[in-house]
């Protein structure tokens, strides 16, 4: 399948701290992908690398077949809505649409205007005076009017209330279904994404823990409940993602390699959210006892 976004061993560091390292992801065309991870996991960094705002310090990134940092021609095929949906706050929505027309060779002004009209956005009011949800809609309309082949959104709903959040995602999915664009959407709120996406990338501590279609993820993971597990191999298990133990019992979230037939274990099919949480919980933030000057 055609890959619209490919990274290979991608890394980015600020000073000596790697915010993203060894990230290898490949996103097939037409997918709606969500990029999940806690704050500071490197989600924004990955998106900024994908749109050429940042230069990779290691590895490579290709968006629409070209390295976006050194090849600004790629920009015309990319739609990007940055975190907190930045817009010139003294511009009106109408002026922003006009601006987009001046700055992009391919620009569907009708699409943007129709969208904003349907959403009831006032055209002649500075966008700084619109609500957060309306502003996010204006930013999305600007990104969609480029008719992008790859649309990247960085936590577009983080600042919205639950109702506005749902409306935003609905209208996003509606227009994506029409245009057939590939979408990569980052969020630290899992519930928003689960409903709508068919591909998931999990970032944790600057590394990609998981990057696969949702169906494969759900089919390839099982939750096993059984007696206290001490690390011995289990038939049909490729890797243990997360293990939690009580005195007598262990609950394991595992990546499978075939069916688990061992009668010792009760096998459960976990939800996507449970699998993602298992990956995120696997390595929590390192304790900082030393920095705080207390004993562990």
């Amino acid at each position: 399948m055609d890959k619209v976004l490919e990274t290979d061993g991608l890394g980015k560091r600020y000073g000596s701290r790697w915010v993203l390292r060894d990230c290898t992801v490949s996103l097939p065309a037409g997918s709606v992908a969500s990029l999940v991870g806690p704050n500071g996991a490197g989600k924004s960094t990955l998106l900024h690398l994908a749109v050429g705002l940042l230069r990779p310090d290691a590895g490579s990134v290709r968006a629409l077949g070209a390295a976006p940092y050194s090849n600004t021609a790629v920009l015309s095929g990319l739609g990007f809505v940055a975190q907190d949906t930045p817009l010139y706050r003294d511009f009106t929505a109408d002026e922003l649409v006009r601006m987009g027309g001046k700055l992009n060779r391919r620009w569907d002004s009708t699409l943007a205007r129709t969208r904003l009209a349907q959403l009831g956005i006032p055209p002649r009011k500075p966008v700084g005076r619109l609500s957060g949800g309306q502003r996010a809609q204006v930013a999305l309309a600007l990104a969609l009017a480029k008719r992008p082949r790859l649309l990247l959104l960085d936590e577009p709903v983080a600042s919205l209330d639950p109702l506005a959040r749902r409306e935003f995602l609905q209208s996003l999915m509606g227009s994506v279904a029409e245009s057939g664009a590939t979408v990569l959407l980052s969020s630290h709120i899992l519930a928003d994404l689960e409903r709508s996406c068919d591909f998931v990338i999990v970032l944790q501590g600057g590394r990609a823990r998981l990057a696969a279609p949702v169906d494969d993820i759900v089919a390839g993971h099982r939750q096993l409940i059984g007696p206290r597990h001490l690390g011995e191999p289990i038939g049909g298990v490729a890797a243990v993602v997360r293990a939690s133990h009580t005195d007598r019992q262990s609950t394991l979230t595992v990546r499978t390699a075939g069916a688990v037939r061992d009668p010792m274990w009760t096998v459960r099919e976990p939800t996507l959210e449970e699998i993602i949480l298992a990956y995120l919980a696997e390595r929590d933030a390192e304790a900082s006892h030393e920095a705080w000057g207390v004993s562990a």
């Binding site: 900024h48 749109v51 230069r55 930045p86 010139y88 511009f91 480029k146």
Partner: protein
């Protein structure tokens, strides 16, 4: 891009034009008043090689009325750095501070083109405004320049507010602001850095570089007789004034004028300072006719510095994120 530049900077432009108009609203009537005073007092005749008697008194009268204008003129040196602080510094710093660089640099226009179009248009606007300002002030200042050697247009401070030098200063201030904004992408720190760096560079150029733009000329006059008074020096930029003995040893700073020997009067300074025959006044100066050469050198220097800063900024911009 042109529309965007206009839309984003039109308010700045209107404010600057309005400020310039307000300035001219003051300069025009006072300039005309000074000119009519010059002709009323007959000061034009005093500029000649052999000024008629009474010129000193009439010049004093003119300075009594209008000398304070020179103080107004001094205030004008702050205008170029203000333009740098308010036009230059926010150009990149505000985009980054508000996060809008992520929106604008991911449209279909590369950052390089974004920067070059914006800087080109702003540079052109600033050049036009600064030229109008510099030539307007030069016209306004001309009568004051002729009335007092210490306030001649070639002197420090007065040189800086007129002619084409303000164009160089203003372009440099804007480029410096833009560069500071690329280096410190926060509006207020970038503004502060712009102001500090501008003052530093301007002082260095004014006091260290400008006196050496061309080799200064040495002029010596006998302490007996010699010209002093109205339009003394004829607008030269005097770098040093000393009284020297015939063998060249420096007696004191400043100038001494004694009546010609044999006139019957005794010269107080002669005995106080122990001047021996042959003592002379020594002046190190840049002659008045070099004014425009110096203006162009100063402007060229600052435009070159501005170009260097812009080149650096456009390169640096690729790493701003």
């Amino acid at each position: 891009m042109i529309w965007l530049t206009w839309r984003q900077h039109r308010r700045q432009l209107l404010v600057t034009v309005a400020a310039l108009a307000a300035l001219f609203a003051v300069l025009l009537p006072t300039g005309l008043a000074m000119r009519s005073a010059v002709s009323r007092l007959g000061l034009e005749a005093c500029a000649g090689a052999t000024p008629p008697p009474g010129c000193g008194m009439r010049a004093d009268q003119f300075l009594n009325d209008y000398g304070a204008m020179a103080l107004v003129a001094v205030l004008l040196v702050v205008l170029p750095p203000l333009v740098g602080v308010f036009w230059g510094a926010p150009l990149i710093a505000r985009e980054v501070e508000q996060g809008t660089h992520r929106m604008i640099w991911t449209q279909g226009v590369s950052r390089r083109r974004w920067a070059l179009v914006k800087l080109g248009l702003i540079g052109a606007a600033v050049t036009a405004l600064a030229t109008a300002y510099g030539l307007g002030v030069a016209w306004w200042y001309a009568p004051l320049s002729g009335a007092d050697a210490d306030q001649a247009r070639f002197a420090r401070l007065f040189f800086d507010i007129q002619g084409v030098a303000p164009v160089g200063h203003t372009l440099f201030a804007v480029a410096l602001g833009v560069a500071c904004g690329a280096l410190l992408p926060r509006v207020v720190p970038a503004m502060a850095a712009t102001l500090a760096a501008f003052i530093g560079v301007r002082l260095a150029v004014t006091f260290l570089a400008r006196p050496r733009f061309m080799d200064p000329k040495v002029e010596t006059t006998s302490v007996y007789g010699g010209k002093l008074g109205w339009n003394a020096g004829g607008g030269d930029w005097v770098l040093a004034k000393e009284v020297r003995q015939a063998d060249g040893t420096v007696v004191t700073g400043g100038m001494v004028r004694c009546p010609p020997p044999g006139a019957g009067e005794r010269c107080g300074a002669e005995t106080e300072l122990g001047l021996r025959p042959g003592a002379y006044n020594y002046e190190l100066l840049q002659p008045a006719d070099r004014f425009w050469a110096f203006q162009w050198i100063e402007t060229g220097l600052f435009v070159a510095l501005a170009a260097l800063l812009i080149w650096w900024t456009v390169r640096r911009l690729r790493r701003v994120a």
